[in-house]
Amino acid sequence: MTTTVAHVESGRAERAPARGRVQRRRATLIGWSFILPNFLGFALFTLVPVIAALGLSFMSWDAYNPPKWVGLHNFIRLSQDPMFWAALENTVLYAVGHVPLTLALSLGLALVLNRKLRGIEFFRVAIFFPYISSLVAIAIVWNLLFDPTSGPVNVLLTHLGVHNPPGWTSSTTWALPAVIITSVWKDMGYYMILFLAGLQAIPGELYEAASVDGASAWHKFWNVTVPGLRPTTFFVLVILTVSSFKVFDLIFVMTEGGPGRATLVLSQLIYQDGILNGQFGYSSAISLVLFVMVLLITLFQYRLQNRRQD
């Protein structure tokens, strides 16, 4: 008797994990069946190209010759390519202008529009609109606004007493500032939305407590708003910097990288060398450099954020 009971019990105990295994296999099948339709497309058209890009950067491959492993050759060639250095310089300069300006303006807009007022939604939505309106239309309008002789921007500047207004998109020194101004105008509404979400997450009691302590608006800003916004600011800073390094289409439509190569950025160089000239290996090496830079910046900002929190 006792042995049978023990036997039955141990049998039950053995069956339970078996059932668990069957169930787990079933869950795996069901899970994959949900993911698969998207995953097939994702794996084939995103994941494989991402991995292939990594390998291609160490190969020599163009439209006429088969791929060949060349080790670091592409990167050595890169370091001697004046076009690469010009594009890198322009990309960094663009980021140096675009990041702080967009950050300051979007934060400013968010602070101004973070109040309870009837119709405030309308103002927020309208300022967000440039971000989602057609890029080509925006490029066209700003190009005409920046027209050196009769564009409204220079007409205004002359009116304000500037005798020699800049040539903007037709000048090698002013083309980059012109595209920066345009892109800041286009992007600030987007980051404003992120800042507004961050501002609304700061508990109102903190402001009330500060008021009780007799803090001025300025003090409240520095001691409540700024610390409360830190996670948002970090997040905005990361995606803003990454998107600055990836900049391509707006500049390409406005100036095509010109005049000369005054606004040539890394993304455009990848396009030119890879798709126009068919140098698949060499252009992949440039894109690897772009990716590593973006990654390093993100990690650097992440460490900075962590240190500040400690």
Partner: protein, 292 residues
């Protein structure tokens, strides 16, 4: 007024003064906000007003914000000057099919990533997340080579295949599904509903706001996309409105008014969609904080 009547006469004046002061400061805020709005939207106003002018008047000094001579014919002639209707149709076809596939496969996969537990799931999701961080430019060359070998360049298929299975849609939908309580799906399972049934009958109806966010963001992103069509579509008959518009500037570079007319027309569909769904745009961006 009712409150005033109940209060003693001696406090009334100070209360009224306070209310007047509040009303005044509110008006000042509204005026300042309107000025701000006007400054930000000035380029659009200029574009709109220029589209109703002659070419000569567009860049005339001083600027006339309201056209002196209204030219309505731009909006009639542009359809004859460029095959704009065809461009608009191509843009709409691409945007609708990519949005449909992205929303369908994205929400389906998001269910697998959030409501079904199985080994390897989180590692797989990490692969999705990791590719969001990789700039698109970094893998555009292998994508292009693939499409070339499959003889899909210069077809809509290239763009649909490359853009319809983005990791972004999966990410956005998963974030939303995680907020739907586990008890709900558990209860449905006990009632004998299969996972597919739960997705279709419970999760989808509950996630309408997130679906709307994803659909609108994807549609607008595809509509506005320039580089994708620029790289893959070479035949004029396949061009989207963005490519057509860009080409138009090259051909008629001095035809300022007509260029502005084309720009206005290219923005109108986005504006209409935006006006109807603006709260979904804002919600989608505030929760995901990422671009499509």
């Amino acid at each position: 007024m009712a409150i005033d009547a109940r209060l003693g006469g001696d406090i009334r004046p100070t209360l009224r003064a306070k209310r007047n002061r509040e009303r005044l400061s509110k008006t000042v805020v509204y005026v300042l906000l309107s000025v701000l709005l006007l400054v930000v939207l000035l380029p659009f106003l200029w574009m709109l007003s220029s589209s109703f002018k002659n070419n000569v008047d567009v860049l005339s000094v001083p600027i006339h914000w309201i056209p002196q001579h209204w030219v309505w014919s731009n909006y009639r002639d542009i359809w004859k000057q460029v095959p704009l209707a065809g461009y608009l149709g191509n843009s709409a076809l691409l945007a609708v099919s990519i949005t449909f596939l992205q929303v369908l496969t994205g929400s389906f996969a998001a269910y697998g990533f959030s409501k079904v537990k199985f080994p390897g799931r989180d590692g797989l999701f990490l692969a999705y997340l990791a590719t969001i961080a990789v700039p698109w430019q970094a893998y555009m060359i292998p994508q292009y080579v693939m499409m070339q070998h499959a003889h899909l360049t210069n077809t809509f298929w290239a763009l649909i295949l490359l853009q319809a299975f983005g990791a972004f849609g999966v990410f956005l939908m998963r974030q939303y599904y995680l907020t739907i309580p586990e008890e709900l799906t558990e209860a449905a399972r006990l009632d004998g509903l299969s996972d597919y049934g739960i997705w279709a009958r419970i999760i989808l109806p509950l996630s309408k706001p997130a679906l709307a966010s994803l659909a609108l963001l994807t549609f607008v992103n595809t509509w506005n996309d320039y580089m994708g069509p620029f790289i893959y579509l070479s035949s004029n008959s396949l061009w989207t409105v963005q490519l057509g518009l860009r080409q138009f500037i090259g051909q008629y570079s001095a035809d300022y008014a007509m260029i502005m007319t084309g720009s206005v027309i290219s923005i109108i569909p986005v504006l209409v969609i935006f006006l109807f769904g603006q709260r979904y745009f804002i919600a989608g961006i505030a929760t995901s904080g990422m671009k499509g």
